[in-house]
């Protein structure tokens, strides 16, 4: 079963962390990646740029209209995700709990099942 483990970022929470706490989260990702890669559960991961770098494209009257900024203005945004393939939903929860962000007060990992996959994943 494939799951996306979404890491929601709250900048207010992130900025309140000390340098050491931030480093712990960052380093924790290396450990997590090693664990899920060795177990044969890791498919890929992506970290996303700050939403201030986003733009939203809408086609209106047959013409694309581009506006700067995120789709939704919110206190939290998607900071990145892991795509994993594991045995059960419970195992996905176990893996999500290993992601360092899950331990930070005010942050959590969203576990979401994948319905359809396409495209090459080997690159």
């Amino acid at each position: 079963m494939k799951f996306v483990l979404n890491m929601h970022m709250n900048p207010a929470v992130w900025e309140s962390l000390t340098e050491d706490e931030r480093n712990e989260v960052m380093n924790g990702h290396s450990t997590f990646m090693e664990t899920v890669t060795a177990s044969g559960e890791m498919i890929m991961t992506q970290a996303l740029a700050d939403p201030s770098q986003s733009a939203v494209v809408r086609v209106r009257g047959g013409r694309p209209v581009v506006t700067d900024g995120p789709y939704l203005e919110a206190k939290e945004y998607l900071g990145g995700f892991y795509l994993i393939d594991c045995e059960t939903r419970e195992r996905a929860f176990e893996l999500a709990a290993l992601i360092p962000d899950a331990k930070v007060e005010g942050m959590g990992i969203e576990v979401r099942p994948v319905m359809f996959s396409a495209g090459r994943l080997d690159v």
Binding site: M1, K2, T37, A38, S39, G40, E41, M42, I43, M44, D85, C86, E87, P113, V114, M115, F116, S117, A118, L121, D122
Partner: protein, 436 residues
Amino acid sequence: MTAGEHATEDLLRELAPQVLGVLVRRHGRFEECEDAVQEAVLAAVVQWPAEGVPDNPRGWLVTIASRRLVDQARSDSARRAREVRVVAQETGPEVPDVDDTLALLFLCCHASLTPASQTALTLRAVGGLTTAEIAHAFLVPEATMAARISRAKQRVRAAGSRFAMPAPHEWQERLDVVLHVLYLIFNEGYTATSGGDLHRTDLSHEAVRLTRTVHRRLPEDGEVAGLLALMLLTDARRAARVTPSGDLVPLADQDRALWDGDLIAEGVALVTEAMGPGAMSPGVDSRVDLVTGAMERPPLGPYRLQAAIAATHASAERAEDTDWRQVHVLYRILERVAPNPMVTLNRAIALAEIEGPEAGLGLLATLDGDDRMAGHHRLHAVRAHLLEKTGDLASAREHYGRAARGTASLAERRYLESRARRLRAPADPPAQEDVT
């Protein structure tokens, strides 16, 4: 791919487990032998189409794989002692053993492994598929599958699993795991029918091929025969199960002319035989009577019973000809043999056909307190289906909607949404038709 290349691949996949058996018996060390055979198979894929299939393809593979083993041992100086042993054994006699494939299956389906690992290892070591092919079939990167297989092999070694037939006292338990793995492989292939990329590593066909192999070696085992029959009867409906655009078609609406008659005949014959002598004689109205057989030769296992249910459906020329009483009785026996809320759910459908939708809904109500079913989309879907039959369209629509939100299958969600849309009250604005 040419016919010659297909023939080469079929031959290689037939030979791969035999060659692995020879190597493991000679050298032990399943892990390294498995790698060596995989490399020999890859070498054959490259060389045979160009240079022709050797006169003794099995001997060729054994020789190449043995050399790989030696190369591996040489490349690691710390293993020099082992190298001497490998070389000494290289010229040993080749002991053919028909049970190699079975012994390998037991090894790959070791209880210390998770089902996903058992599946991957079985496909590689017994099915002769490459890691890339297995990865492709499961839609994961090759590196992910390679890690999974490598970890599975380490586990097998750590668990001290041996390349041998299980002892009599654990035979049944170990065989059940093997059959479950074959069943999982089949289902993975069967449910993943959408998507245009029909790779040759069709998992359903691979599962059927492996199950046939097991059936040839254990012809007396009714559950093996039952599983094979279940696969054939399910596979027979493949062409009718989805529309060309990928939409699911429920059993009752399938065009039965699209069902594969040869597969049905083989599956029905297999399950009739496996259900026992009572099933061989036609029932009162000359339909296959699988219930009498079921009564006469206990103990029956779940695969035979599920195959018997599939055979009952397959024997009906039209949906309305379905012998729902027989289906219902078979589900009742299945409920007793292998209690599972999913079985009760299916029995509710059969019961509704015999006694009306209210009776089916009554049986569904008994599942509401079951934690294993709480909020399961199949429960919502069946309830919606039965509510629709009672004429309570508003509730039916609501439950189709819940089922649609609960499923993790895109094809199923589309089907359930279309059912819900169909029940839209006349007062609502007309549903916008899907362009697809």
